[in-house]
Symmetry: C2
Subunit: 245 residues, 2 copies
């Protein structure tokens, strides 16, 4: 995906701080095309402050007088919306919307995501300029998302698609030692059983479920070879100190 194919459009933003927050959210997720439709105050110090290290996004942002102009060259236009428009429009959650935008951007189409005013979003007329509406499924107790937060969610979803191939599928995908082999684990269990009998914790005549529980514990965690060495070292020292008595 060419990140330059996806443009964030903010319509009539009231608070310059929000514009800064949007710029930072965009840069954090690898996007840099920001178009402002009649912002109340821009450029603004507060925007620069909130943008932190994303001030370059603000410096290269375009200011235009109308939404039509902001999206004129776009082939897919997505408008963010609260529920319940008079005429239902095609609407999807951020994830499914991002999938459509991602596919379009990969085909080298120009895509816009349009965000409305802090207090009342986009008008019906503005939403009718969009192919698709995006609705963030907020909780019914408090549906009003901060503007920069809404942008953060959308660019995060796009980022997750862009990096999908590189994310670890398992929590231990990046590890610093090889995981223990079954053979080494068997040696460990033998050593453990021997030691537990020696210190009197395991009664070989009535072992009950003890070794099964310990096998389940260490099997679940998948020990690495270094951890296995540490545990075997502990067993050896335990046996030694026991022998001294």
């Amino acid at each position: 995906m060419n990140k330059q194919n996806i443009r964030i459009v903010l319509v009539n933003t009231s608070h310059p701080g929000n514009i800064g927050g949007v710029a930072r959210a965009m840069k954090n997720m690898g996007f840099d095309q920001l178009v402002l439709v009649e912002p109340r105050q821009f450029p603004a110090e507060e925007a620069m402050w909130r943008a932190a290290s994303a001030s370059d996004i603000l410096e290269q942002a375009t200011v235009v007088p109308s939404l039509e102009e902001a999206i004129a060259d776009c082939q897919l236009v997505v408008g963010t919306s609260a529920r319940g428009r008079r005429i239902p429009w095609p609407v999807l959650d951020p994830r499914r919307c991002a999938e459509q935008m991602h596919v379009a951007a990969q085909r080298d189409e120009t895509v816009a995501v349009v965000f409305g005013r802090e207090d009342r979003g986009l008008t019906n007329e503005e939403l009718q300029l969009c192919n698709l509406h995006l609705h963030v499924p907020t909780h019914e107790d408090y549906t009003s998302l901060n503007l920069a937060m809404a942008v953060q969610i959308v660019v995060y979803e796009l980022r997750m698609l862009a990096v999908a191939d590189t994310l670890p599928a398992q929590a231990d995908a990046e590890w610093d030692a090889p995981f223990a082999t079954a053979e080494n684990m068997e040696r460990y269990y033998e050593h453990l059983e021997q030691t537990l009998a020696q210190i009197g914790f395991l009664d070989p005549a009535a072992p009950r479920q003890l070794m099964s529980r310990l096998r389940r514990l260490y099997g679940r965690v998948r020990l690495d070879e270094m951890e296995l060495n540490i545990l075997r070292g502990i067993l050896t020292e335990t046996q030694k100190s026991q022998a001294k008595k």
Copy 2:
């Protein structure tokens, strides 16, 4: 999922505005358990102002002197982390982490997600109190996420799991008119072909791909019955005005 089973823990937050932003993000996504470990300044006016209608979350937030205390009763502790710790720890992206937290919360376990300081996150010691680390895959050009934004992403992922069954799978899942039947579409195509011949746009002797293209267009969009009536009305009027000439 019982939302009260998932707790957001902020460690040594410097800016009260961020605490407010976190409260708002939480309430937007249906969460209300906020624990603050030694915040620099709390309660604070700026926190209330940034929380907007989520001030109740701040009012019922707990302040504790240590991370240990904040997570003492938790059965799954997730710590947010930048990459590259000295000892690799189990680490997942926000989506896969949220799946684990969601499953645990559904089993009525108590879950904490821990967020560190604005400037340097969690210490290695704090991260070692966690079962799992969460890493947001930011772009390498700018990896430092605003604290409230990081919380927003995590609670959004949890929210998406909570509402998964209710999200529309298709953009037109909620529609105000029934979609047209194949039989009515065939009548429309006949009417359209007839009209196009009548106005001289279609040459019945050399129709080329015209009707195929139009069938693809209307088939792709899936007309509803109301839209079909509008289009047939336009055709009828076109034929009438043509007949008058």
